[in-house]
């Protein structure tokens, strides 16, 4: 099996394990739709900034350990695992998320304020992605940056900025005056 496939499977496996743990942890939690939505909304507010930090630190590790072709298989596995995580996070940003929950809970947890916060997060993500693209463009005048590295940086900064901003706004929204 190729290193790329191993990475893809590892990424998918990690996503499934996290989904299973989340589902198992919420087994005895409140059952009414409103209570469930409130519980999930609070958990999301806590998780988003943490996810952004984990995602960014993963990128820092990736770039600091770039071997320049010595461990090509390991690099391919890491890249494909990162790709899976990026796609899952992008899906989370672009959709209502909580894919394993009933539709009425998903609709409620994605109410007007949440959509506004998410859109603001997406706006920040776009601006950060564009900013990092410009920075890379300038960098290529002085150093060599491969296409893959450029895409990696743009995608990582865009997603992390969107997650972080959305998380901050959600936490602020939950805070009582």
């Amino acid at each position: 099996m190729s290193a790329f496939m191993i990475g893809l499977l590892a990424g998918l496996g990690a996503v499934l394990v996290v989904a299973a743990v989340v589902k198992w942890r919420s087994r005895d939690k409140p059952v009414s739709v409103a209570d469930k939505a409130e519980f999930l909304s609070r958990r999301r507010a806590r998780m988003l900034p943490a996810l952004a930090v984990i995602f960014l630190s993963q990128q820092a590790t990736f770039f600091s350990q770039m071997s320049g072709g010595e461990h090509v298989s390991a690099e391919k596995a890491k890249i494909s695992a990162w790709l899976i995580l990026s796609v899952v996070l992008l899906f989370g940003l672009a959709t209502k998320g909580f894919w394993l929950e009933p539709k009425e809970v998903r609709d409620l947890v994605d109410d007007e304020n949440t959509r506004a916060n998410r859109n603001e997060g997406m706006r920040w993500g776009f601006l950060f992605a564009m900013g990092s693209a410009i920075a890379i463009y300038v960098l290529t005048m002085f150093d060599v940056v491969t296409g893959r590295e450029a895409v990696h940086i743009v995608l990582s900064f865009g997603i992390a900025a969107a997650l972080l901003r959305w998380g901050v706004l959600e936490r602020r929204a939950h805070r009582d005056a």
């Binding site: 409103a34 949440t114 959600e170 602020r172 929204a173 939950h174």
Partner: protein, 68 residues
């Protein structure tokens, strides 16, 4: 001077003896959204403003006004 959408949501909700969660359930949003509207952090859509006014037995103009 910037304009701000002020409201008497909290005052009216308390008058009627409702919690944020109960009001949220009546209008079909989460407690967080009611909280942000009450605190003036979030400007609701016309639809939500009308739903809130109906749930609190007031007109939209009685519930919300522009503060300069």
């Amino acid at each position: 001077m910037p304009e701000r959408l002020a409201n008497r949501l909290k005052e009216r909700r308390t008058e009627l003896g409702l919690t944020q969660a109960e009001l949220a359930e009546r209008v079909g949003v989460t407690r967080k959204t009611v909280n942000t509207v009450e605190n003036g952090v979030f400007t609701p859509s016309a639809t939500l403003a009308i739903k809130l006014a109906q749930a609190l037995d007031l007109s939209v103009e009685q519930l919300f006004w522009i503060e300069r």
